[in-house]
Symmetry: C3
Subunit: 154 residues, 3 copies
């Protein structure tokens, strides 16, 4: 699978979130899909439960509706810096990919903080139109300090 297209997918994902165009986010996934936010520690100890879990586009859309209603997006937003994708396995038309990320959180008063780092563990394949979309995106965070509600997608 073309590295350039994987980079474009990652860049589009980050741009949608950082520009607060959250409604476009579910469209980057297949349906059904798997989106999960967890920590390296949870993974290592076999703790299956993640911080966030969704297995369909509908669930992703529900998250965004809840986010908009809670007006979380008015109080904070993110800036993603995404590393280069490493394709770990590649069969037929599904690629497994790992990509490092760093997220800075910006509060409305302009205060910035290093919010999260980690690794996206993805399964990616083209949709019917040939556009790359996520079958799975497991967001493995390095740190373990999260708000009980991580409302904005990582």
């Amino acid at each position: 699978m073309d590295a350039v297209r994987l980079v474009e997918l990652n860049a589009a994902y980050a741009r949608i979130i950082d520009n607060e165009r959250y409604e476009e986010w579910p469209g980057l996934f297949h349906d059904p899909c798997l989106y999960k936010v967890t920590t390296a520690e949870n993974l290592a100890t076999g703790l299956e439960s993640g911080i966030i879990y969704a297995d369909s586009r509908g669930m992703l859309e529900d998250r965004i509706s809840a986010l908009r209603q809670a007006n979380i997006y008015e109080r904070q937003r993110y800036r993603h810096i995404v590393g280069l994708p490493v394709v770990t396995t590649h069969s037929q038309d599904v690629a497994e990919v790992e990509t490092s990320f760093l997220v800075v959180r910006i509060m409305r008063d302009g205060k910035m903080e290093l919010f999260a780092t980690g690794c996206y563990r993805d399964k990616v394949k083209p949709d019917a139109n040939g556009a790359l979309r996520f079958v799975e995106r497991i967001v493995v965070c390095d740190g373990g300090r999260f708000d009980t509600l991580v409302a904005i997608p990582l």
Copy 2:
């Protein structure tokens, strides 16, 4: 426009600044040009005034002269981490491109801090020799806490 060449332009831009070779910075722009540093908040509220504004190579060169005379460069420097460019529109030979960035400021005593994050909104086209140069680089910072004088180019 070739993604690899956009990446090279961005890498060259960051390297010139991070290596404190500021005199080479104006050469990455067309003449006339537009270089502006502003914030997402300013843009959203339609506030036209940016933190920094220059519309010719001469103005960019003046900034660097002032920077050298003020000896600001002796007290701090930057490290840019630049994301992957997203080409948003592309007509004839001008590309509009958005690229996330993160800048760490390093003081002479070795203290580092997360200084700025944001998005470059660029218009890029080749010069007479075919080298990509900026027609416009609008530096949209996420945060709003800047020194009254942001002397080193972002």
Copy 3:
């Protein structure tokens, strides 16, 4: 030299360290080689002594053994965010490359901090199998505050 292959080499390097698979790290170097961690200030003042110095794979392997025995790896790990490589010179099959990096340190309790930024100054060439490997990797750190023992490779 293909930019994509340089990016892959950098991504593989970061992934090995961030996934704590340190034993695979020496394999990314030629033998003999040069691996050095130093600071911009040391370089500028001509101070030859770096923080870390190794000139063979064996020395790199010794570092990892020491790291494992000290159990440093149980207390902290890194997350690298690596920029785009800039090829500065390119003769025959050796490329000289500069690449910005940022490293976040994650402690076992989940605390994260911006640990180091800087520039990799590399000499890279293919090995007998055609795989790109480091002849030299000089890690030039921006800041100067290091633990007396920087145990995990940067």
